[in-house]
């Protein structure tokens, strides 16, 4: 991501954050109208969690088809970012719940499903950490990610809709769901976070590539040099 795009992204997200305070009115009808505005920050974090795990599944599938180590690195980077956004969505959601529902944690279906989701992807990192051999690790974690993906879809899109929940459903895409000012701010913040996601993803990938180069260099340095006769010196 070049410097200009980074600066524009920074200006955009700062602008949206300021607008959320100065332009967005408190939401009447909530127990705490001031704090109800938390949704414009909380929901985009939850949406980015889905996007990141979707990217993880896409690159895992690509890895199994191409066996290209770079796609495995991309899948890993996306899963790491998915976890970061899941944590942010959980923490901001708890603050919302504390103000609106009287308790930071209510074991609501969506709260429970995000905890399950984080456990599913924590197991992905445990799996990656447990296998030493690089290609085996990539293969196993890609297969696991493809199994985790339908579980993620079920936990995010289906489970909260089939049981009674404190969270409303179908508010993002229906015209009657959100006040226009809330919709504009929420989607603008999502756009800004998406740009930040791309930024973080690329930086994470550069770290993976640098680590791989260092490993290669170490292997080269520690390997005995071969003589023309095939003997080692």
């Amino acid at each position: 991501m070049n410097r200009t795009v980074q600066i524009l992204t920074g200006i955009w997200v700062v602008g949206v954050t300021v607008a959320a305070f100065l332009w967005l009115p408190p939401a009447e009808g909530f127990r705490s109208p001031e704090a109800a505005r938390i949704v414009v920050f909380h929901v985009p974090c939850a949406m980015l969690t889905f996007v990141a795990f979707l990217v993880n599944a896409v690159y895992s599938w690509k890895y199994l088809r191409s066996r290209d180590p770079l796609t495995d690195s991309k899948a890993n980077a996306a899963a790491e970012l998915g976890m970061l956004f899941a944590i942010l969505a959980t923490v901001t959601g708890s603050l919302f719940a504390m103000e609106q529902w009287g308790s930071a944690w209510n074991w609501d279906p969506r709260e429970t499903s995000i905890v399950m989701l984080m456990l599913v992807y924590a197991a992905y990192f445990v799996l990656r950490g447990a296998v030493e051999e690089k290609s085996k690790r990539a293969r196993l974690s890609a297969a696991y990610a493809l199994l985790a993906f339908p579980a993620m879809v079920f936990l995010i899109w289906i489970l909260p809709r089939i049981v009674e929940s404190l969270h409303p459903t179908n508010t993002l895409f229906s015209r009657s769901g959100l006040d226009p000012k809330y919709r504009i701010t929420l989607w603008s913040f999502f756009a800004g976070l998406l740009a930040v996601f791309v930024w973080m993803f690329r930086l994470r990938l550069r770290v993976e590539i640098a680590e791989a180069r260092l490993r290669r260099q170490h292997r080269r340095d520690t390997m005995p040099e071969a003589t023309p006769a095939g003997e080692t010196r």
């Binding site: 970061l84 603050l95 260092l214």
Partner: protein, 42 residues
């Protein structure tokens, strides 16, 4: 807690999380690049 204060904490938490992660990545990348450079000279 004051609802307005709770509302103010939320974006701060998000940006602290994101910039914390970016900062950690940047530090790691710099350290790796330095090591690569050092080992390249050796």
């Amino acid at each position: 807690m004051n609802p307005l204060l709770t509302y103010m904490i939320v974006p701060l938490l998000i940006w602290a999380g994101i910039f914390g992660y970016l900062f950690w990545l940047d530090m790691r990348l710099r350290a790796l690049e330095k090591r690569l450079e050092e080992e390249g000279h050796r």
